[in-house]
């Protein structure tokens, strides 16, 4: 009985650590997406510096969806991940389900954006690759989070 309780505690602690790491990583994605969104809204086209592939990606038609900068959806997504991970860490059980669904959607969107960069635009933007790396990390963390006991 005691052994079971100890295992349960260990799982809970591991889950908590995974959720805290998820929230912290989501903040990095939030900063990246916020920077790109603000640059877009301010009309600052010097974000890429001298990098031509970066200009191709951020100047393409895929950088805007229905008049809204694509990066703004990233802001929303990363903020949602941060919020749900924080709530889950504080014991809100349903938040964990939402977190998994949000990250799954982000994973699919990231694959789509990587496809566009590699095969349609033939150019990569470092901000987008950073965001992709973060999403892959979040996906890995979600898959690695110990299940509920």
């Amino acid at each position: 009985m005691e052994a079971n309780a100890e295992i349960h505690d260990r799982f809970e602690r591991a889950r908590l650590v995974f959720l805290i790491i998820t929230a912290v990583i989501a903040l990095a994605g939030l900063a990246d997406a916020t920077y790109l969104t603000v640059s877009h809204l301010a009309g600052d086209d010097s974000v890429c510096g001298a990098s031509q592939p970066c200009s191709i990606v951020l100047g393409s038609k895929y950088a805007v969806i229905a008049g809204i900068p694509t990066a703004a959806f990233g802001v929303l997504a990363y903020f949602s991940v941060f919020s749900t991970a924080t709530l889950a860490a504080f014991g809100y059980v349903r938040a964990r389900t939402f977190l998994a669904w949000i990250i799954a959607a982000m994973f699919l969107a990231t694959l789509w954006f990587l496809y566009l960069q590699a095969f349609v635009l033939h150019a990569f933007c470092p901000f987008c690759l950073f965001s992709a790396a973060i999403t892959f990390c979040l996906s890995g963390l979600t898959l690695g989070t110990p299940p509920s006991s």
Partner: protein, 218 residues
């Protein structure tokens, strides 16, 4: 308290994100406004224009005569577009010699000096066509003088103008104009005032000019 704490954390992050985003937005707008003012203030009517004044599309190129991609873009993309679009396309050249090109600025001076005898564009074309011949030379003076001769210029006057500080000032002012417009590398192309991102292959350029023309007509 424990039930409220996560919401406080989330709200705090939300406020920090919106606040820092707003501050970043303001600083970027201020920087852009400052650079727009700078580019708007100098008396910079384009010095070198090829094409009709009322052409619906204006293609501006900031370039360095020693830059290989400038030569390639001009000879393989811009010139074919000038032929293809005729009077509907106006091309403007701005000097933007890069410091890492030993003779880039000399190329600009040669073109300006030729321009003082009404042959800027002829020298412009010749410098790009013969870029490989002069760009690696130690002394470009005899080569440029032979080009002046080939274009039937007054070579003595060409030599004087090449050394004339007023001619150098024209090149410098155009370079400053490029910096004020955010030009960092060459070639940089603007189509009807909008920066056109590379690559500058003929198909993409044709498409962009078509789109600019359609936008003008709509």
């Amino acid at each position: 308290m424990k039930r409220v704490l996560p919401f406080i954390i989330i709200a705090a992050i939300g406020v920090v994100t919106i606040g820092s985003g707003a501050m970043l937005y303001q600083s970027k707008r201020a920087r852009i406004a400052a650079s727009t003012t700078v580019s708007g203030t100098p008396d910079m009517k384009p010095a070198h224009v090829r094409g009709e004044a009322d052409a619906p599309v204006t293609l501006e190129e900031f370039a360095d005569f020693q830059c290989p991609s400038c030569a390639m873009t001009t000879l393989q993309s811009i010139q074919p577009m000038e032929k293809s679009f005729g009077s509907r396309l106006r091309v403007v050249f701005w000097h933007f010699p890069l410091p890492n090109h030993k003779h880039g600025r000399d190329g600009s001076l040669a073109a300006e000096a030729a321009g003082r005898q009404g042959k800027f564009w002829e020298m412009h074309d010749l410098l790009y066509e013969k870029q490989n011949d002069w760009s690696k030379a130690d002394d470009i003076h005899p080569i440029f003088e032979s080009y002046a001769q080939q274009l039937k210029l007054d070579v003595e006057r060409f030599k004087k103008d090449f050394e004339n500080p007023d001619v150098a000032a024209v090149v410098d002012r155009q370079h400053e104009q490029g910096e004020a417009r955010g030009v960092k590398n060459t070639p940089t192309i603007f189509i009807n005032g909008q920066e056109f991102p590379p690559p500058f292959n003929p198909d993409r350029l044709h498409e962009a000019i078509d789109a600019a023309m359609a936008a003008k007509n709509s």
